[in-house]
């Protein structure tokens, strides 16, 4: 009769029922109770460990009405202001008519708001936080994302971790009892191990394997596909840089969702942070350079060579495992933002080179290499001759000024 998803059915009713992450739980409840110094709090951590569940459960405990927005809503500035705006600005009449404390605004999965359509979404959230009369809670998996910076600056932060396996096993046992299923403990342990601390996925897997059964044996769970949630870029980088051996790093690369080209660039970008000793850095870069050579040899055909790229990547991050010190991962690669920042200058330089090329029968490349350095010196002189040459090349004022200015 009950076809409800177990994840819904056994959602914690109150904060006490939320498993694990005791410290985070205490901090959150404290934050909810006190006259907080920040109006907003960001709960961050891996998926399925109870961030959103805690918000709903604790809200019930303390009589808050939750107004929720999550990644599935299009988060343009406009929709955010439409939905959240009124909730935060008027102190709700509900407070008087219903015996509740007030509303609590929940932005779920804020790191999911980065689609193209979401331009301005971050700004809108920051604006709402600054104007809000009511508490605001945000959740995210990865708080390091560059674009979240403005939000993080105006929030308290509470970190969630994977839930420890024994706790999840206990929960699954409880569910089985309530569902009248007799389950071998070993079967439940396999499910939990597979879930990597993600309670939600453990419950989902349990429901899948229990479908139509009264008894759950350990061989029943062998069929569940390894729940490979795949490592994101930061997890991958943290993993490979802290790995104790190339073999371990290789394993992490296998579990990663990130493509080899991004990995090559990201490892390259972070390599100097990993190795402070120049000799280690040189050794690591030597290996990374060879990984890149193999990548080059693959071209668009020899994909069997990809395996060597991964071998070499794994080697490059584990040159001196003992000397590992945690560091802040850089991502996206610094070169990307640099390219963006210099885009205007570069296109100006290119147009200048094209003009020189046309006049002097050279390619843009040789114009840049062979004429630009001298032209800079000539134009800096600001003489009559200089302006005549600029005119001859049909350089506009912007171009001339650019050449005068750069070294």
């Amino acid at each position: 009769m009950n076809r409800q998803m177990w994840v819904e059915k056994y959602r914690p009713k109150n904060a006490a029922e939320v498993m694990g992450n005791e410290e985070a739980k205490v901090s959150f409840i404290k934050w909810l109770k006190k006259k907080h110094k920040q109006k907003a709090v960001l709960l961050f951590g891996p998926a399925g460990v109870g961030k959103t569940a805690l918000v709903h459960a604790a809200a019930r405990d303390f009589n808050y009405k939750v107004i929720e927005m999550n990644a599935s809503d299009t988060r343009t500035t406009k929709t955010i202001m439409e939905i959240a705006g009124p909730a935060v600005s008027t102190s709700s009449l509900d407070v008087y008519f219903l015996s509740i404390k007030g509303s609590l605004l929940l932005f779920d999965e804020v790191d999911g708001i980065f689609g193209r359509e979401d331009r301005g979404g971050v700004g809108a959230i920051v604006k709402i936080i600054s104007e809000s009369q009511i508490p605001i809670v945000l959740t995210a998996n990865d708080p390091d994302i560059q674009k979240l910076r403005p939000i993080i600056e105006v929030c308290d932060l509470i970190k969630f971790r994977e839930v420890r396996p024994p706790l999840i096993v206990a929960l699954l046992q409880k569910i089985c009892r309530l569902e009248n299923i007799s389950a071998e403990k070993e079967a439940l342990e396999t499910i939990v191990q597979n879930s990597q601390g993600d309670v939600r996925s453990a419950i989902n897997d349990l429901q899948t394997v229990c479908e139509g059964k009264r008894i759950l044996r350990k061989e029943d769970v062998l069929s569940i596909p390894a729940r490979n949630r795949g490592l994101d870029i930061r997890e991958t980088l943290r993993g490979v840089f802290s790995a104790a051996s190339p073999r371990e790093a290789r394993k992490i690369l296998n579990e990663s969702l990130i493509d080899y080209d991004t990995l090559l660039l990201a490892i390259h970008d972070n390599l100097p942070l990993r190795y402070s000793d120049p000799e280690n850095l040189a050794a690591a870069y030597d290996v990374l350079s060879r990984a890149d050579v193999f990548r080059g040899r693959i071209g668009t055909e020899e994909w069997r060579l990809l395996s060597y790229v991964f071998d070499l990547l794994a080697q490059s991050t584990t040159i001196a495992p003992a000397a590992f010190h945690p560091f802040n991962i850089i991502f996206p690669p610094t070169k990307f933002s640099l390219l963006k920042r210099t885009a205007t200058e570069r296109s100006l330089l290119e147009s200048i080179c094209a003009k020189i090329g046309e006049k002097c029968h050279v390619s843009k490349r040789s114009a840049n290499l062979e004429f630009i350095p001298f032209l800079k010196v000539i134009l800096k002189k600001e003489s009559d001759q200089a302006s005549k040459i600029a005119a001859w090349l049909r350089l506009d004022e912007e171009s001339s000024n650019y050449l005068k200015k750069v070294d």
Partner: protein
């Protein structure tokens, strides 16, 4: 030659006929033979370093073969600028439309394809086909730095000419010719210095001369002027980047590398070439160290040609420099 003011001298003093070319006596002699019986002229392949006269000679040939209408029937393309072989094909097609009669009194149209060694092997194969189908009404003059980078089938369809760097005396002679035309006062040591710095590249020599002349605003040019101009024009960034790497300041060196690649739009190959040059100017390195570092540069230059990403290869090279000096017990540049 008109004395119009305010132009780049490299262009103003570009020889207009094969007789004006001061070097390359053997090349010129053979080419003149072709010009006497244009029908027998095959496609041409000019190989040589920058500023040795490849484009100049190609333009002279076009001018002499095609006469007053040479501009209409000469197509100058740049393999590194034009987007792929499609462009070449399109342009050739539009020539083909003229047909034989349309070309009037001229034997054929001329296509000058500069930097053709920048083309991929695939693009070159396509080019070979185009050369074949269009040879009735087109001649190609392919220009490159290294003929070895041109695929065999194309090489075998071309008469290959090697352009060697200018001899010192030819260089000085040409500089003196310009000096006279421009009413400049160029000291002997200045002329020698220019010849030395330009390493057989006449375009570079002329650019140094003109920049020096502008710098002195008509006054006399001596050795000091030349040194100053070359110093200012030579990007110091590469040298500073090298020193930082050798001092173990890898991050700063890499930031400079990124700057060269973005703000200055230099390619990996161009940067590594400059690194190789600058290496020998670092006087605090022993000859043995310079040789060893040059070997490393060579290795990474090779990897660059094999690799997929020049950021990685060049950063890796800088890291080797830092590691090398650490091993030697620190640099002594400061």
């Amino acid at each position: 030659m008109s004395r119009n003011e305010g132009v780049m001298w490299a262009e103003k003093y570009r020889p207009q006929t094969l007789d004006d070319v001061v070097n390359l006596r053997d090349v010129i002699r053979s080419l003149k033979a072709f010009l006497r019986t244009p029908e027998t002229m095959p496609h041409l392949l000019f190989a040589g370093m920058p500023g040795t006269g490849k484009t100049t000679v190609a333009l002279c040939i076009a001018r002499q073969l095609l006469g007053s209408s040479w501009r209409s029937f000469t197509l100058e393309l740049n393999a590194s600028d034009e987007r792929g072989i499609t462009m070449v094909r399109e342009r050739v097609k539009s020539f083909a439309r003229y047909g034989r009669r349309g070309l009037a009194d001229i034997p054929y149209a001329i296509i000058i394809l500069d930097e053709s060694d920048q083309m991929t092997a695939t693009a070159q194969t396509a080019l070979r086909r185009i050369m074949e189908t269009s040879s009735r009404f087109c001649r190609f003059i392919l220009i490159c730095n290294y003929s070895s980078k041109i695929i065999e089938p194309i090489q075998s369809r071309c008469a290959i000419f090697r352009f060697s760097p200018l001899q010192r005396e030819d260089m000085v002679k040409y500089l003196m010719y310009i000096t006279e035309k421009e009413n400049l006062d160029l000291s002997n040591d200045a002329a020698d210095l220019i010849a030395e710095f330009s390493e057989g590249d006449l375009r570079r020599a002329i650019n140094i001369l003109q920049t020096s002349a502008t710098y002195e605003e008509g006054a006399s040019i001596n050795g000091k002027t030349v040194l100053r101009v070359v110093g200012q024009a030579n990007p110091k960034q590469v040298q500073v980047m090298l020193s930082k790497a050798l001092d173990g300041k890898f991050m700063e060196a890499r930031d400079m590398l990124y700057d060269l690649m973005t703000t200055y739009s230099l390619s990996g190959v161009d940067i590594i070439r400059q690194i190789h040059k600058e290496l020998y100017k670092l006087s605090y390195l022993s000859h043995e160290d310079q040789a060893e570092l040059a070997r490393i540069v060579g290795e990474y230059d090779f990897r660059l040609s094999q690799g997929a990403n020049e950021d990685i290869q060049l950063s890796a090279l800088l890291a080797q420099f830092a590691g090398f000096m650490k091993l030697k017990g620190g640099a002594t540049s400061e």
